[in-house]
Amino acid sequence: MSSSGAGLLASEFPPSVEEFFPPALFGLDGWLTKFTIFAWVAVGVLIVFFLAASRNPKIVPTRLQWMGESIYGFARDGIAVPNLGHEGVKFAPYFATLFSFILLTNLFSIVPFFQISPNAHIAFPILLAVISYVIFNYVGIRKHGLVKYVKTAVVPNAPWYILPLLIPIEFFSTFIVRPVTLSVRLFANMFAGHMILLVFTLGGFALLGANAWYIQSISVLSWLLAIVLTFLEALVILLQAYVFVVLTSSYIQGALAEEH
């Protein structure tokens, strides 16, 4: 997966499974890839941004302070408090961090020269989902104790004779489906978005390389679609960052709830 159009054109056609693995940088045994660098860039940008935004706060905020406060305010008043009540305020920093990190890394998929998101590599969504998974389980266990937490999560309010049927479903749904869908949803959206933009951009070049003018002229249509789909991708980027955080908050809410 090369980042620039020229690099992509030079790649093998048809693409093989090898394309899924980005080349190692500086010959470092494959652990340092483009995705690693992008994740570092995202972390660096977010640290600098929030430090600059929260440094020397004013009653009448500067533009930067306003931006930082809106992101935090959105995570707190738009996600944490509606889902978790006043207890939710203490989760707002995590939600704000999660939201801004996913949003920025997702955004890389339509930023020139980045053009692919680390979240298009399944490892990054898995790690993010694991963090949320550990948090919601930890919070639930700390509040209810291990036995009561698992019991509340797994035993639904139903007649005893139907419980053997339902308990495995509840267990599977809460402890296995949740982290899997959380990570796969983000990964698949970013990966599919990248593929679609790739298909229409490269398709334009492939059509241009044809040997008849009426096929070559279709390449304009292909590139036009690539531009339109970039805007669609921008929508998906925002939506997936939001969905990830909202679901995390809803899982925490479920873990803290007294009864179902």
């Binding site: 738009g78 996600i79 139907i162 049927l165 479903i169 509840e170 749904s173 969905v243 909202v246 809803s250």
Partner: protein, 75 residues
């Protein structure tokens, strides 16, 4: 945002719970079919029943999933 804490909170709540409910329902239906379908598949392997137990397991699991969805969201 500070002068009226009640209004944005209500808006957010409706929206958030709507999508949560949707994902929860999907999760139950998938989990139901996956768990009992897998149990049925194991029984198939054990008794060489050629897929019949898997089919029954998936149907039972789907029924259980639907039951849980109705139970959680109907009340």
């Amino acid at each position: 945002m500070t002068e009226s804490p009640q209004r944005p909170r209500d808006d957010g709540q409706d929206h958030a719970t709507g999508s949560n409910t949707g994902w929860l329902a999907v999760s139950y239906l998938i989990a139901g079919m996956a768990v009992w379908g897998f149990v049925g598949w194991l029984i198939d392997r054990w008794l060489h029943t050629g897929g019949a137990a898997t089919a029954v397991g998936i149907v039972i699991g789907a029924a259980g999933g639907v039951y849980l969805v109705v139970r959680r969201m109907g009340s």
